[in-house]
């Protein structure tokens, strides 16, 4: 069919033809054109999310390998594999197949350790990423939804991790599952029913490994994958935030284009993360289930803790006194139920923080320039207080390990945690706020008087002064770019005719909170242009 006319035409290069072929079917040209030059600003803290994304990918890849050899079954069998100290022991197929993965599958132990270390790092990375977003105020409009996506990823990650930790059916994880069942049972009214439903009868039954398996490999990761995609689409849609600097505004993004620079960097960083986690997994053991033994409901070991991301919940239960109420033949186990409620509230408050802050400020504008943490002292102090409470409960979760490692009394550690959970955040709040305000004063001082140069000058009349170097225009911009809110006033409650105006309680609360955030004690007024002019023009000042 071809004619000589066609042959005459010079053929397009192969790459162009492939692109043309794909564009004709997928319409990628428009997509690529819109996004290939997408700009990403450069800062190491913007790569925390990448660490999470890459470790998530690593978890999925290694997880697929593990599913090829893992038997999610609680059928009891006698072990005859290659690990001598378990020879002839009765155990579930789940535990036996995990032993096989560790000792008899080629590369199995390394993959298992990569999977587990990557999970530890994934959750830790999400925590730090979340804190980066929190302290820089990156959660403000238009990114509140994305903040919630991230929060959900963290919570789902916790439960995916927990279900995965439970799958090998070893003595440690079995104790953890028992702990969870206890927490479920402590829920009033529905607890018993949920427990019976989840475990298919009395604990431990013969079902939970298979059920946790589909939750762990299908349900939760499926939702998480969707959320990750949504999270990334929103990052693309909103464009990335950036720190204040000369030439950067709320309306632009300064950085590297997605293609080729950013893509090369991100691709390279993926391999660095993969390599680093693989190296870690080749060097350090994690969850050596072979020495833990198969789960049996009549056995338990000391030092039984969940992975770190559930340590907060563990700590709450360990610190809580074992109160309970018996009423009309029913028992309400407050010693477990109260920690359960605190666990939900504590996570919930950080999830809802963006909405709380925007309600207090009443600010409905978009923000693409990040705050320096010191310029939002109350928010920063709140975040540090939250982390303090979290960390104290992590200590509580490991109270026995801390007690033996540092030769202390476990009771003393527990009392420290009980008091610290309430006192620690208050102290952290006050201290952090003072530090932030101090740094703001220092910034103001630097703007107005310049940087201390360390050079001492002697004046003709004998006075010694230190020479202060004025800051560059760029540095001045960084220190003064932030905007400061005015505290929201309710206004006069009595009008000119002496009629009292009704002020609703939420509004009063809002006004008081606003005052705490942006009142006299909440921020140091940043230097105005007039102040700067006056000081820099008057040569009498140094």
């Amino acid at each position: 069919m071809s004619t000589s006319h066609d042959d005459d035409r010079r053929k397009a290069p192969a790459g162009e033809r492939v692109a043309d072929w794909a564009d004709g079917r997928l319409g990628i040209y428009g997509l690529a054109k819109a996004n290939m030059r997408k700009i990403f600003p450069d800062h190491w803290s913007f790569m925390l999310g990448e660490i999470c994304l890459y470790s998530f990918i690593i978890i999925i890849l290694t997880g697929v390998y593990l599913t090829l050899f893992f038997h999610p079954s609680m059928n009891e069998i006698e072990y005859h594999g290659s690990y001598v100290p378990m020879q002839g022991q009765l155990m579930s197929e789940a535990y036996a197949s995990t032993l096989d993965i560790s000792f008899d599958v080629r590369g199995g132990l390394l993959i298992r350790q990569i999977h587990h270390w990557a999970a530890i790092i994934f959750l830790a990375g999400m925590f730090v990423h979340m804190m980066r977003v929190f302290f820089t105020g990156a959660f403000r409009k238009p990114r509140e939804i994305n903040w919630l996506f991230g929060f959900l990823l963290f919570v789902l990650g916790m439960f995916t991790g927990f279900t995965g930790y439970s799958l090998p059916d070893d003595l440690l994880s079995g104790t953890g599952v028992r702990f969870t069942q206890g927490a479920i049972l402590a829920t009033p009214i529905v607890g018993t029913y949920i427990s019976m439903f989840l475990f298919g009868g009395e604990f431990p039954g013969g079902d939970f490994v298979a059920r946790f398996y589909s939750i762990h490999i299908l349900l939760l990761p499926g939702i998480m994958l969707g959320l990750v995609v949504g999270h990334l689409i929103l990052v693309f849609y909103h464009k990335h935030t950036q720190f204040a600097g000369a030439g950067r505004s709320n309306k632009n993004v300064v950085g590297m284009p997605l293609l080729p620079v950013y893509m090369a960097k991100a691709g390279g960083f993926f391999f660095l993360v993969f390599g680093f986690i693989a190296m870690l997994s080749a060097v350090a053991s994690i969850n050596p289930i072979w020495v833990l033994g198969p789960y049996r409901a009549d056995q338990v070991s000391t030092g039984a803790q969940p992975d770190w991301y559930m340590g907060f919940a563990e700590g709450l239960i360990r610190a809580m006194p074992g109160w309970e109420i018996n009423f009309a033949g029913h028992t309400l186990v407050l010693g477990v139920f109260i920690p359960l409620v605190i666990f939900g509230l504590f996570l919930g408050v950080i999830a809802l923080y963006p909405f709380i802050e925007s309600w207090i400020t009443g600010d409905k504008r978009e923000h693409h320039i990040l705050d320096r943490p010191r310029n939002a002292p109350t928010r920063t102090a709140f975040g540090v207080a939250w982390i303090t409470a979290y960390m104290i409960m992590l200590i509580g979760g490991g109270n026995d390990i801390i007690a033996t490692s540092f030769h202390m009394s476990i009771n003393a550690v527990t009392w420290f945690v009980r008091i610290g959970f309430f006192a620690g955040p208050v102290i952290a709040f006050i201290v952090t706020k003072r530090i932030c305000l101090g740094l703001q004063r220092r910034d103001k001082d630097k703007v107005l008087h310049g940087r201390e140069s360390g050079i001492i000058k002697r004046l003709p009349h004998g006075e010694f002064v230190e020479v202060h170097e004025p800051l560059s225009q760029e540095q001045l911009h960084v220190l003064t770019a932030h905007e400061q809110y005015e505290p929201a006033e309710i206004g006069p409650t009595v009008d000119e005719n002496g009629v009292e105006r009704k002020v609703k309680a939420p509004q009063k609360l809002k006004s008081r909170l606003s005052k705490a955030y942006y009142g006299e004690d909440g921020q140091i007024p940043k230097p105005t242009a007039e102040e700067y002019q006056e000081i820099t023009s008057g040569h009498g000042h140094h």
Binding site: D42, W44, F46, M47, L48, I51, V84, P85, M86, Q87, G88, Q89, S102, L109, Q113, I120, I121, A124, G125, V128, L171, L172, M256, V261, K265, F269, L272, V273, F276, I277, L280, V283, A284, S285, I286, N287, P288, V291, L292, G293, D298, Q299, V300, S301, T302, G303, A304, Q305, D307, W308, G397, G398, D400, I401, A403, T404, S409, I410, N411, A412
Partner: protein
Amino acid sequence: MKKLSARRRHPLAAVVVLLIALAATGGIYTLVAPPDKAKADETAQTLTIEEGQKLYAVGCASCHGTGGKGTTDGPSLVGVGAAAVDFQVGTGRMPAQQPGAQVPKKKNIYSQAEIDQLAAYIASLGAGPTVPTENQYSPEGADIAEGGELFRTNCAQCHNFTGKGGALTNGKYAPTLEDVDPKHLYEAMETGPQNMPSFPDTTLTEQNKKDIIAYLDEVNSDKSESPGGLELGGLGPVSEGLFGWVFGLGGLIAVAVWVAARTAKARKS
């Protein structure tokens, strides 16, 4: 009888009676008396106990009282047996340095001979468990897997899965069992030192104890292998979490900072 009676005043009569008496005494003695060696041992035993008593008076009596009767500072040692002494002194726990929640393991300053003397003295105060012989506690010929199961059932709730130790109330603790002498493991199970319950042969048979010792020898001694790499103390998720945060995430953040610092910078105008 008449003949005998008639000759009772014979000049040699006394000699004959003496010979008969001596023969009888000697004969009965040889039948009844213990052999010579045992006699020497008894003397040695008495000596050992005496030596032990001297050591006791110097090192132990201030708390445990004279004669091992016990005081407010230390319990009675009547009936604790030689095994308890061999364990407590052999691991350096006794003599205690100071009172406290629990007496820690420390360097033993007694020779084995001195410990044996002390043990003999304490054993002489009242019957108790004796020091086990090597074939009782040697891990050879034991069932490691069985030992593991017994360990997880009876010991792990205080000593951790592999005997890394754990916390008890108010500063007390179950010590680590890493590289503890098999003899001391056996004695500890038998006598239940300090806060530990005792596991006499009626609870854990001799074979059971051997199995447990063999299990610990396999998983928690200097010859134990850690197939996964660094053991991180064998303390479970707490140390793993700390390691993951510090070296895992910490390392990755360091990598991130390194990558961010080496970027294609826009040319300064």
